[in-house]
Amino acid sequence: MALGLVILSLALVTVYFRESSGGALHEAQRIAVSILTPFEVAAERVARPFQDAYGWTTDLLSAKDENEELQKEVEALRQQVVANETAAQENEELKELLQFVRGKEFPDDFDHVATRVLIQPQTVFRHEVVVAAGSSDGVRVDDPVVTPEGLAGTVTEVTPNSAKVRLITDPQSAASALVLETQAAGIVLRGPSDESLDLDRVAKTARVEPGNIVVTSGARVGKYESLFPYGIPIGLVESVSQRDVDLFKRIQVAPLVDFDSLHEVVVLVEKRRKG
């Protein structure tokens, strides 16, 4: 029995990988997810204050010079603070999103779908999140996902009311990019650590300096257009080096988005398509 189910699991993994995103297993999963999503939304809403309380507690534990009297006071106010902070933080994040979508830097050809992150990355191997907006909101596969700080990732799977987003820090992510100050072009890929990015394929002759801003290039190569519109900030150049044996510069980029506290995001939906 155990062996049979292990083989069945292997068969599921194999078929899931081999079939297209419109295949039978993907479709079955989408149906199941659309049934589960309302429960996940509810669980996320209930969990949010507890998550904030947990974050608050860990911050508190790491503070060394805490005064005892203050700690008592803080303890008494803890529940109230957590509730207030949750509401205020959500409010702040929504305000930021609103300013961002109304701002000049928001791409003209795109509409926005503001949504919450339902599920945080589940393993260190895949940097993916699930958001609470899906095909019924106009979200499609390959839609860019941003925050007011910059590029977060792309949509890789869509169900009627949720979508999976592959973050830019995932090993399988890539974005054509350029250095804003010098227009040096390259490709942004995951860097050596979880929280860093590399700007690859930048010619050794190009001028790039630490502190330069890296943005999406919105490049078009032949009939292939970049998934990302021009000018979405990605990160700041942290270090630049080059060796004689390398073909390109080695550029490390610090992402602008804080992926550890990704709660609210905006999915960019093309106006042409929506219309």
Binding site: A2, Q51, V130
Partner: protein, 172 residues
């Protein structure tokens, strides 16, 4: 395996999978999270044996992959053997002792951590060994061990062990 047990376990594991993706994953120590699904599965398998553990492991994995929009079958691949082994382990130990849950959860966590690293590596999604061992496995192990006994106690209430069976196990 009675139909009532099967129904209870099906609902419970689905609920635990939902709790895992929305509640447990954001609780991060290092890069590790408490693995509610594994701890519950191990508890169920200890109480109900390898056949129950095997089926429960498969179902739990499926529920987890669906709830997180993950690769279908990947979690089942690792949780099915975990359920089976925990069941076998439970058959040879007394069910009133606190040690079997701790030992089985520890072994299950190591199996799941290393197994998932190998499977993801084979799928071309590697992470550094120091991240997997130090960052994920050690904190996850500590968190799971903290949960192991309370969850097991709770499961014993939901899935009581028959008095005769308990006596037989103690006699063995």
């Amino acid at each position: 395996m009675t139909p009532a047990d099967a129904l209870k376990a099906t609902g419970l594991l689905l609920l635990v999978a939902l709790l895992q993706v929305s509640w447990a994953t954001p609780i991060e120590v290092g890069s590790g999270h408490p693995d509610l699904v594994l701890v519950t599965l191990v508890g169920l398998a200890l109480l109900r044996g390898p056949l129950f553990g095997t089926i429960a492991g498969f179902w739990a994995g499926l529920a987890l992959d669906v709830a997180s929009l993950g690769t279908l079958g990947l979690s089942s691949l690792l949780l099915t053997p975990a359920g089976y082994w925990a069941g076998r382990f439970g058959e040879g130990t007394t069910r009133s002792s606190p040690y079997p849950p701790l030992v089985a959860v520890a072994l299950g966590t190591v199996w799941l951590g290393l197994g998932s690293a190998i499977v993801h590596f084979m799928l071309g999604e590697g992470a550094s060994a120091s991240t997997v061992l130090g960052g994920v496995l050690v904190p996850t192990l500590a968190l799971n061990l903290l949960l192991a006994y309370p969850v097991y106690r709770l499961l014993r209430r939901i899935f009581p062990v028959a008095a005769r069976e308990r006596r037989e196990v103690i006699l063995v």
